[in-house]
Amino acid sequence: MRHLLLAVAAIMLPATAFAQSCELKIGAMGPMSGGGAQWGLSMKSAAELAAAEVNQQGGVKIDGKTCKVAVVSYDSKYTPDGAAAGANALAGQDIHLIIGPVGSVENAAVKPVAARNGELAWNAAYATNAQEPKYPLMFQVSPPPAIWADLVIKRAMKTFPMKSVAIVVPNDQTGTDVASVDGAAYKANGVAATSEFYQRGTTNFAPIITRVLATHPDAVDTASSAPGDAGVIVKQLRLAGFTGPIGRVGGPGTAEILRVSGGMDVLKDFYWYEAVPTDDPKVQAIDDEYRKLLGHDPVGGTTFWSYLPGARMTMKALQTAGTNDADKVAAVLRTMPVEDPNIGKGYWTGKKYFGIQQTLFFPFGIGIIKDGKNLGVERQEAQPE
């Protein structure tokens, strides 16, 4: 028992013991335990890399002093309470720049709290109210489906002609929002769309799939289902004899879906949205850089890559502003050109959809798997609004 206590104490020490003369702390907040842990940990990797890059160049100049950037992570547990507590806890450590939170559930709670505390935060939420003009310190690392769903569907229909689609999503906020946005985009392209909601925590999708297949859709879209869930859905759809294309006009995680479903032969015909052009060697080079600077593997994947540009731009804005004040950093950020050495050139967007132009729109990818062969992720350039 004593060893256990010592171990606990050892983990708790670093947060307090090394209060260096000048260290600038930034936050990384997201779910780091439970089902959404991948997202939070990827965000943390992105924040760590951006900080390491700045530190390698000697740190940032804040109020005349040169400071090293350190990342403090917070597990929001994918709950509003956890995220609000996290925003407060980070503010309590004088942290005003936060990479995260990720989802709509957390974002809804962070918005008012961060506004109260003067914190700048980066979300990747898909909710229709993810960004609001009354919260000018909230930024978005990638646009919501409304911005790109139409492009992905158009591209998919070239390879997989379809007349009807069933969208399968969990009955949570992101699920319902994405289902309605995707559904509208399908309809705009002449595809009849139905939505099927499943209870969060469902592990066996066989009944849902029986229900979906009873309507004989040409395609099934797993939209924003968690990758693990989507993998099971794919596996069980194919077992049930469904041969049509399966899509994912929603979140990242195709690699995981591939693993869970049982491989290319099972996946067969698949189309999906990637927040970044993942096949681009320059994008993949990010992982090598992380390894070089931090000495271990990142918790990688699309979330990591798509959060990195936001984190890097925040560092740059911090340097330009010369202060940790969120309002001043945000002001610099808004005027900065959207560009990233690995991802490429992009634009600010969001005005039309959210009423506030604080969403990064970088080149993204559309992936196609046809007859069990991966045709790769096609790079799509971002369009100015």
């Binding site: 209870q199 009944p207 077992l239």
Partner: protein, 288 residues
């Protein structure tokens, strides 16, 4: 009609899995009076142990399942003997202990294996199609193993000295001890059998579905529901209720959709409680 048969097939295969989990849960509750919040954790652990055996040690899958059963049983044994046993009569304390164990287990698995789902596939693939109806082969195998295990458990509990001892302790612990039954021997054993059942279910079901940290949470919720429906402490009730839950879940999801389907199940349970507060086959409940 095809949908109806399909729902029935799905319901039965869900029911068999739920039965294995609920039997273990009921066993622990009935005999030790402990609400095992770590039950989902042992399910998860079973999956990860089997996965590790296949992926890292290169064991054939059936052997990996066996290792998972032994490992989860052993952990259950140790946990009962060294932690739970110290305060086995304090129901609140044991509840908190199992909860603490669950948090530690899921964090441990997350730290070791990372947050992503594993590449863990059942060795037998494909489905048998009968016209519009299909039955995945893997489900058939799992169903067969589940039913065999339930039968074996029944034999152990009702046809052996050990089973008599366990049931006697469940019925009246003080008197059973006064008859010479040894809780120090039987309690860890009961706990180990129950956690091994959860581990077995995990090792069998996670390759069919998915394996990631967090797959344990729904297990606990389903076990709760099943046990309420079946009547606490009643093994027959738990087995029966598991199939009821599986079939109702399948039919309501097929005919009403995912989220209303879940509500149907809950409403059914509430209705049952109005008319039969002790569950399907329950008896008067001991105090907590």
């Amino acid at each position: 009609m095809a949908e109806f048969s399909q729902a029935a097939i799905i319901g039965v295969s869900l029911g068999a899995q739920y039965a294995l989990l609920a039997l273990g849960f009921t066993l622990i509750f009935g005999i030790l009076g402990v609400v095992n919040f770590a039950h989902g954790g042992f399910y998860m652990l079973g999956g990860y142990v089997a996965y590790s055996c296949v992926a890292y040690a290169g064991l054939p899958y059936p052997l990996a399942v066996l290792v998972a059963v032994i490992a989860t049983g052993a952990l259950g044994w140790i946990f009962e003997l060294y932690l739970l046993e110290r305060m086995v009569d304090d129901h609140l304390a044991t509840l908190m202990l199992t909860l603490g164990l669950y948090l530690v287990m899921s964090t441990g698995l997350l730290t070791i294996f990372g947050p992503l789902s594993m590449e863990f596939a059942f060795p037998v693939k494909g489905a048998m199609h009968l016209g519009p109806i299909y039955v995945p082969r893997e489900n058939l195998i799992v169903l067969a193993i589940c039913l065999t295990t339930i039968a074996a458990l029944w034999l152990v509990l009702y046809r052996t000295d050990l089973g008599r001892g366990l049931r006697a302790l469940a019925d009246d612990r003080a008197i059973a001890m006064a008859q010479g039954l040894r809780p120090k021997l039987l309690f860890p054993l009961a706990f180990a059998i129950a956690t091994a059942l959860a581990g077995l279910t995990g090792a069998l079901v996670t390759p069919i579905l998915s394996l990631s940290p967090g797959v344990g949470d729904p297990v606990l919720a389903t076990s709760f529901l099943t046990v309420i429906l079946g009547g606490l402490g009643s093994l027959e009730g738990a087995a029966l209720a598991a199939f009821v839950v599986g079939v109702v879940e399948a039919f309501s999801s097929v005919y009403f959709g995912g989220s209303i389907g879940a509500l149907v199940l809950f409403v059914l349970v509430l209705l049952l409680l109005v008319f039969r507060p002790t569950g399907l086959l329950g008896r008067t409940v001991r105090g907590a």
